[in-house]
Amino acid sequence: MINPRIDRSTPVIVQGITGRAGRLHSRLMKEYGTNIVGGISPKTDAKEVNGVPLFPDCHAAVRATGATASVILVGAMQLLAAMTEAIEAGIRYVVTPTEGMPVHDAVKALHLTRAADAVWVGASTPGMAVPGVAKLGFLPNDALLHGPLGLMSKSGTLSYESGYRLAQRGVGQSVWVGVGGDPVKGTRYADLIPFYARDAQTEGLLIIGEIGGHEEEDFAQALIAQQFAKPVFALIAGSSAPEGVTMGHAGALVHGSHGSYAAKRAALEAAGARVYATLDDMVNGVCGVLKKH
């Protein structure tokens, strides 16, 4: 079972920490409470970034710090190599926010992480968080609030907006995992059902989906197969997207009935999920069920 419940002691390294995103987000993650123990930068003489010690490679960082997780902030074409380095060094948990990873690379990365029995969240993920405890990636603090809702999302922005509005209404999240907008990814919605089913803090599950692929349909089938007993809410973007055009996310492409909004909505409703057509309706629906605290 994949367990995304990181805590304040989980030792995390940041690969690509000297880049623009690496500097910014290592600082933001650290400020939030994430235990950032090291950064990887093969090409610099600097000793630290944001008070985080630098190492030339993952092996050295893992040896020195005992790191078990890595947030990888390198370019899309370097991502597979960086992931390979992390896994070979013994990292158990990789989060890769980088957008634009070639899909055939993602297939290789998937086999690499599965063979090592490691968890991969991404690519093209906004990150993940245990609100009030720690975060890996970009999730903005304004949207994070400790609470009863399990949240999984392909899109960053739509989940920020959803999390923020729900937080304004007093409904926070148990564990928030951005599975990402790529077609081939490390962790899919369905992979996390066993975790959310058992997680005592989680009282309901919200998925923020979008057109393309059949991840929402697979998730719906898994809900039924695993007899998931908690309420499930879903918001699916792209009902009016044109066929044959990629809508921003590499995975968001409808061709024929493949990946269509109608197919997703039907599958989710058949699994007992409450599917909403607007953000307002979703927020009201979730609050109506979960807001009793």
Binding site: A21, V103, S155, L158, V184, H214, M247, H255
Partner: protein, 381 residues
């Protein structure tokens, strides 16, 4: 990128896949000089969507006159909200049987799904499920070929031989060109087992363009046929005109939130013009992306209002607002009211900058949309 049939066939032919002889034409006047193979022909409208036959943009033609008539009827037609800007005129393939073959990147399995059927010519969804054979292979040309041989072995006849041979060749293309989908439907099969690709659907990976010079060259050569992918390649962000008649220009970041906003506006009977994921994180203090987008929006003939929706988790709204006001001044020909809904980081700093720039600022999306509605009601052009 979902390739037009003509481009898919050209690319497949360069890998030794047999396709009917054909040419592409974008204007009726090109017909006179077009180098057509001997007839009869089939004239096929080129759009990246299925159901072309039902939509009437695939027509048979026995004479050059009939070809000209078909071209005239198909060019400029609107199908699934899209204008047909090109037709492929190819030789009809006759006295053949039809089969189906596809290689599909199976995201859940993390491999390549090989799908075959001894029937073809209709949607895979319409084929009888018990007659479709499929299995997943590793993403490796030899593994895919092995899988192809095993599946095709189910048909010990000419069709089986054709499916096997076509599949083995497609395996090579799939891996070399980093495809996400290659589908030949129908695969025309002659009595002797020789075959030709009747139709071709090829979806390639935009993220791999940097190391796929052939596909990159195709995109650069014919940017007008793939406007979204061309913009992404040149500018690094996503912009899609979803309705050329749209009235509301959208300045938004984030693919999911942008799509959702379009959905919600349409549900309210409003007409958004475009999808945009400008990626504020990539602007880096430069109004260039905003200027580009505003310029493109001036092509929207019915555009009457600009709606900005930014949820700034990380982005600094103060800086964003300065860049926005600069861009609006630069593209002064886009003379429409601007309604902004901004939330997050740096909002207090953004407020006076936007007010000075004449932008109506809201923090509630519903209120901003209500303002957009008001603008549309009171200012018909």
């Amino acid at each position: 990128m979902y390739l037009l049939e003509h481009d898919a066939k050209t690319l497949l032919a360069s890998h030794g896949i047999a396709v009917p002889a054909g040419v592409m034409v974008t204007h009726a006047r090109e017909l006179a000089s077009a180098d057509l193979a001997p007839g009869p022909w089939v004239v096929k409208g080129q759009i990246t969507a299925g159901g072309r036959g039902k939509a009437g943009i695939i027509r048979k033609a026995a004479t050059r006159e009939a070809v000209a008539e078909a071209v005239a009827a198909i060019l400029g037609a609107t199908v699934k909200g899209r204008t047909v800007n090109a037709v492929r005129i190819e030789q009809q393939v006759r006295e053949v049987e039809e089969a189906y073959i596809a290689l599909l990147l199976d995201a859940a399995a993390g491999g390549v799904r090989v799908i075959m059927c001894a029937h073809g010519g209709m949607d895979i969804e319409a084929l009888p499920a018990d007659q479709i054979r499929s299995a997943v292979a590793e993403l490796d040309a030899e593994a895919i070929r092995e899988c192809v041989r095993e599946i095709a072995g189910a048909w010990p006849d000419a069709k089986g031989r054709a499916l096997r041979d076509a599949g083995e060749r497609l395996a090579e293309v799939f891996v070399a060109r980093e495809a996400m989908l290659v589908e030949i439907n129908p695969l025309f099969v002659h009595g002797d087992g020789s075959w030709v690709a009747g139709d071709a659907k090829l979806v390639t990976d935009d993220s791999a363009l940097a190391r796929q010079p052939e596909i990159r060259a195709l995109l650069e050569h014919r940017a007008a046929a793939y406007p979204e992918a061309a913009i992404k390649l040149e500018h690094g962000f996503d912009y899609v005109v979803v309705d050329p008649e749209g009235e509301i220009g959208l300045l938004t970041t984030g693919a999911g939130l942008s799509m959702m906003l379009i959905d919600e506006l349409r549900q309210q009977g409003l007409k958004p013009y475009n999808f945009l994921d400008i990626r504020t994180g990539g602007m880096r203090g430069d109004p260039g992306r905003l200027v580009s987008v505003l310029r493109w929006m001036t092509e929207g003939r019915k555009l009457r209002v600009l709606l900005i929706n930014i949820f700034a988790g990380i982005t600094d709204l103060g800086e964003f607002s300065r860049l926005l006001v600069t861009a609006l001044r630069t593209v002064s020909q886009l003379d429409v009211p601007v309604v902004a809904r901004l939330v997050g980081n740096g909002l207090p700093e953004a407020r006076p900058i936007l007010e000075a720039g004449g932008v109506h600022l809201y923090t509630d999306l519903g209120a901003a949309v209500a303002e957009v509605k008001q603008v549309l009601q009171k200012a018909p052009r």
